[in-house]
Subunit: 307 residues, 2 copies
């Protein structure tokens, strides 16, 4: 049994108030896979890169228990490239360059050896590609988590609604939840989105934490107040990776265990933003992760007896 | 021993996407007093109104255990009046009218019978008036909580820093914490503000909850996701009132008890925003308050064992 991660593997060039990078490793599936690797050791990747993608990056993913046999390498093409610049508040950003390259013709292929997939994480990608992946799976996974963004709501809403109707958990940010539902109140937005099919909705609020909804319950996890947020790129993906990695490890998809998974996801994301790109997600120790989770516990713990 | 509340008692005219009011009862001290009344029964008010202030409002405050002997009534003047309009996101607003009226010449007088004050809540007012109140107290209260806003940072920063240096707890919103400290990171902002004198800082983040800092610890309390936020006016004041009301009731000013006080403050504020003005803060039952607090507990409770 394994975790299948589908999403982009990319180059990013990032500018924040704290500095600027050349092309560095990025992509939703990269962040998801690295984050999940701290919780589960059986991760399969479906993605695509070009001939310009360094083999060291692939070795690094493999060292993090990520099987790259499903990573297509298009020798004569170039890897997907995104460049962006964050504003001073780090909550908003401008896209400077988007070169789709290999993504333009990406035809995902799920290798036979991945068919035992019990947990499926569909990282942010065209809903069309996400649907193609799902169609190739002979058995429905125990849990399907979908991440998406406003871009697909703008240009591919019908396909997006199709894939949303087929998954168990949808993760979007607060602005996207509002856009998708047409409701400003997140409680009402959640009701409308859950009516589209998913049993669970996670609304990511960045520095303000994350909300988990099902039809009857709601859970609010804070975000750790950090001294420096160096680079928010990949925070949402790291969150999703930690979330599904923890679920895949524990094999328990109850609401109570999802609450725990959100804390582990938040802890993983908090590492991500402390350095540029994936730098801080490579080679963490179990001890570091546990200490960070303990900080979350301490941050929100209070003791009230009403009786 | 008692709780002394100093602040405005006012008329507000409020416009939100959900409707519009004529002149209704408002003012920081009104919200603070009403909120605190659900936790402590010995509340003394220092404020000022004009001859146009209805005696029914005063009776209503008295029914909520608020002693109004320190409420000056200037027969030939008018009560402070504020009119504002909230934007669609309910997080920002425009001030349409500010008529200072009685506030223009407000000379606060602390009656002798208020001198046993153990807990002092300085609601949002001119720092000059806040300093005058403090100077009249023969004994320093056990705990002084100060609420203020960006307006005073703009026009009276020196006096504001003077009063900040004399209090135990400062409450501001996130934008104000950033303005006062010159730091974007709330962790760094908290360090700088605590260096100005207060032992505790509460950063109010509206729908995103509230943070409590002292020099070593931090606590993050969520806000209840609400189906409707009808009118945010007075939310911060209700929060502060519930906070200090709970502390005055329990007489325990440890960090752990302040965490509880923040949950009770948040619960009280969540009632406030569900209707216009003070409407929903009048005549709540203990049961309603307890149920709301239980919702907060359920909202954030999770159970992780790292051992």
């Amino acid at each position: 049994m394994s975790l299948l991660v589908v999403g982009t593997v990319a180059f990013d060039a990032i500018e924040t108030p704290f500095g600027k990078t050349d092309k560095i490793l990025g992509g939703a599936a990269t962040y998801i896979g690295l984050a999940a690797s701290y919780f589960t050791k059986n991760i399969n990747l479906v993605s695509v890169v070009g001939g310009d993608f360094p083999s060291e990056n692939i070795s690094m993913l493999n060292r993090h228990h990520i099987n790259t046999n499903g990573l297509q390498i298009k020798k004569d093409q170039k890897t997907f490239f995104w460049a962006g610049k964050y504003h001073n508040d780090m909550n908003s950003r401008d896209t400077l360059i988007t070169e789709l390259n290999v993504l333009e013709t990406f035809d995902p292929i799920v290798p036979d050896e991945y068919q035992d997939c019990e947990f499926l994480m569909l990282g942010n990608l065209s809903p069309q590609v996400q649907l193609q992946v799902l169609a190739q799976l002979k058995n429905r996974p125990k849990l399907i988590v979908l991440d998406t963004m406003n871009f697909w709501m703008d240009i591919a809403l019908d396909d997006l609604k199709k894939i949303i109707s087929k998954v168990d958990v949808l993760t979007v940010n607060d602005g996207e939840a509002r856009q998708l539902s047409g409701e400003y109140s997140l409680v009402k937005a959640a009701q409308k989105i859950l009516a589209m099919g998913p049993k669970y909705l996670i609304i990511k609020k960045g520095e303000h934490g994350a909300l988990l909804f099902n039809e009857e319950q709601v859970f609010y996890a804070p975000a750790l107040p950090l001294e420096e947020v160096f680079d928010p790129t990949g925070a949402g993906d790291s969150f999703a990776g930690g979330f599904i990695g923890y679920l895949a490890h524990t094999k328990d998809i109850s609401f109570d265990n999802m609450k725990r998974a959100i804390i582990f996801g938040s802890a993983t994301a908090s590492f991500c933003v402390e350095k540029f790109g994936t730098e801080n997600l490579v080679g963490l120790t179990q001890n570091q992760v546990d200490e960070r989770v303990q900080e979350f516990i301490d941050l929100v713990q209070f003791d009230i007896s009403l009786v």
